[in-house]
Subunit: 413 residues, 2 copies
């Protein structure tokens, strides 16, 4: 059971993802219907079709006068045409009907003259511009046509989606239920943040981080606490997680004292167990992905940065899929100039933490000097990843590369 | 009181922001202390100083054997050096002490030989590589030094900030209390989304959108409902908003039937009232910004897109400031190639909605054809703004421009 010499074989990231998702068979998420005011950042669970046209009627796009456009033919600043101002229900020939932005166009009118191009004198109106039919009119259905699809299932809802839904009369929306993700930290050395530590103990920070990362994506994290490096205790907690939740993420115990504690527990807990363990991924090589009772298990390293990268590579697309998104939700990206070269590792995918800034309109990516290999501060000092692919030994200074952002980019001078 | 000919004078956006913030005197936000698990996306209210070193002790960065580095001098694959394996408290000369990643370095040792570079034979250890002092050791304090500032006040908290705080033993963090933003829609034509509409009514969508936009930034929106186009009713609701909240945002009634309903109510409600009304901003020209009893009031147009832009330009930096951030929180941006030219308006700042995609590593910005001027669907079809500055009459096809993103960017082929 002991594995003392590292992994015999590392699996390529894309192969691992494919193998894993092949055994997972993730179901369509459960739906729940929520009021629009509770739907921000949720993921839609069903397509939404417009129940009516938007706008609901022809309406004025400006403040002015509704007219028959043909009556304005030839009108100009130097040759104004005089209209009768009317308030009757229908606009007749050479009649003008005062109208405000957003108001429905009265019967008989087919265009609006902006107020700036008119002059009221002696109860009559001088029109000083020619308008085309439909001029300054928002046509019924010009934004959205009845029966048009206004929202696709699997869409992360922004304030603008909510506005569009509301404008079409919807007060609620079907969203994917939040997948419940159990999070377990393992390690004899771990102490709860805020407690007293002694000797060799360190504060558990990965559990809090993975909880927040899961929540950020729209999952509901469920805390399984800290387990000692003990097969029975880990097995018990894993069982609880699998019973109560849709997936389990663990951190630590992927290579403890030369033993693969958590992978071993996973393999003893059901089929198929660990699908891949040992990845051509730097950092995060000791990550394992597994399936138990059809549920996904992500076994992350205890090293904070390896846990971040393992989550980014495996848990992130998993949660997106569980939410019913068609693919992994893209993080914001930029093309940035590397300020210095960085070594990769041929045959492995390497995540380099960088700090992107914008200077004179150009994006610069400064590799973060990792003072420590697992240094979590590199994630707060940095704001993005440059991903060096497997076929590159590194990247050079001055190279323009795509950066996947996880923090704000500042303008510098 | 009637304003029938548009604004006499439009104020430049930057001038308006300056004038407004000058009268606002926004206070430092109230602080509250929350557990780390509740702090994601909140804004820190105080600097945090490391209470101790991180790591807390010298520890091994790898699985292997702790040794005195000087004893490995000259060791190689071809000329291994033999060590005694020890389990005693202190590592002596030519002694090797088995150690796992993350464990504290034993007394006497100053380096770790990776397990891959050793061979165990007859209870002894062959070391096949030379290691330098400090080799494969994470030094005490190499990530964070005691008394170092690990978090600055005014920082939006990511999962990584929470992890760093936890790693240093913090279980909670001081965050800015959420500013309470009252949101009021005005308009006789407005019906509550989900209710029955009749005739000229339209569904109120701006209130739901502005609520979500405020919440997205970390404010606590407070619903003031819909007011009729009635001075007394608007005044009453505004009063409630000012009494209960830290700021008020209204939508509609900036130019209703030629009357500036909401700006008039604001001016009659206290000093200084409206600071700027009428902006060199397209869309969102009729936006007004005001201050009452020292509290900010943002008076947005009822046109959905004008409301979006008015919020983006005025409410967004306001809320960031109320949260104690040092400047406006930047949205993600990219440099993208315009796929066609777009007209701006010389002397005005123009927000052009675009859909950015990534194709062959390049970002392309396709202007969204606005089928209707206030068409909210342009915000769900688009994912970014190109901002045409006041000194440009437009932008040309092929030009590379900064895009401010409000939605995900997709890869296309």
């Amino acid at each position: 059971m002991a594995r003392l010499k590292g992994f015999q074989k590392l699996t390529l990231v894309d192969d691992a993802l494919q193998k894993w998702f092949n055994v997972l068979q993730i179901k369509k998420p459960r739906e729940s219907t929520v009021p629009l005011n509770d739907a921000l950042n949720r993921v839609s669970a069903a397509d939404v079709i417009a129940k009516e046209d938007l706008p609901r009627f022809d309406k004025s796009a400006v403040d002015g006068y509704a007219v028959k456009s043909q009556d304005t033919t030839g009108a100009s600043q130097f040759k104004p045409i005089t209209f009768q101002i009317t308030e009757s229900e229908e606009v007749g020939a050479k009649e003008a009907w005062q109208i405000w932005t957003g108001n429905p166009l009265p019967k008989g009118a087919n265009a609006v003259v902006m107020i700036e191009h008119t002059k009221k004198t002696d109860g009559k109106l001088e029109v000083r511009i020619q308008v085309a039919t439909g001029g300054n009119v928002s046509k019924k259905g010009e934004d959205v046509k009845k029966a048009e699809k206004i929202l696709q299932a699997g869409t992360r809802l922004t304030p603008y989606h909510l506005a569009l839904l509301a404008a079409l009369g919807n007060s609620e929306v079907k969203v994917a239920e939040k997948p419940r993700i159990a999070i377990l930290a393992t390690g004899n050395e771990l102490a709860e943040a805020g407690s007293k530590t002694s000797g060799n103990q360190i504060f558990d920070s990965n559990r809090i981080m993975l909880t927040a990362m899961s929540r950020e994506l729209g999952a509901e994290p469920v805390d399984l606490g800290i387990a000692k490096d003990d097969l029975a205790e880990i097995a018990e907690k894993l069982k609880t997680g699998l019973r109560d939740c849709d997936a389990v993420i663990t951190t630590g115990g992927t290579s403890v004292g030369g033993l693969d504690l958590v992978p071993d527990v996973v393999n003893n807990s059901g089929k198929p167990g660990v699908v891949v363990h040992g990845l051509a991924l730097r950092p995060a090589m000791p990550t394992a992905v597994a399936a138990l009772d059809g549920k996904p298990v992500v076994v992350l390293s205890g090293n904070p940065i390896a846990a971040v990268i393992g989550f980014e590579v495996f848990a992130r697309p998993l949660i997106c899929k569980m939410l019913g998104m068609s693919g992994e939700e893209p993080r914001p990206t930029v093309n940035a100039v590397m300020t210095r070269k960085v070594a990769g590792a041929l045959g492995r995918r390497t995540f380099v933490r960088v700090r992107v800034t914008r200077k004179n309109g150009e994006f610069l990516a400064e590799p973060i000097s990792a003072r420590g290999s697992g240094a979590i501060s590199t994630m707060t000092r940095g704001n993005g990843f440059v991903i060096v692919p497997e076929n590159r030994g590194g990247v050079t200074e001055g190279e323009v590369l795509l950066v996947r952002l996880f923090g704000n980019v500042e303008e510098v001078s």
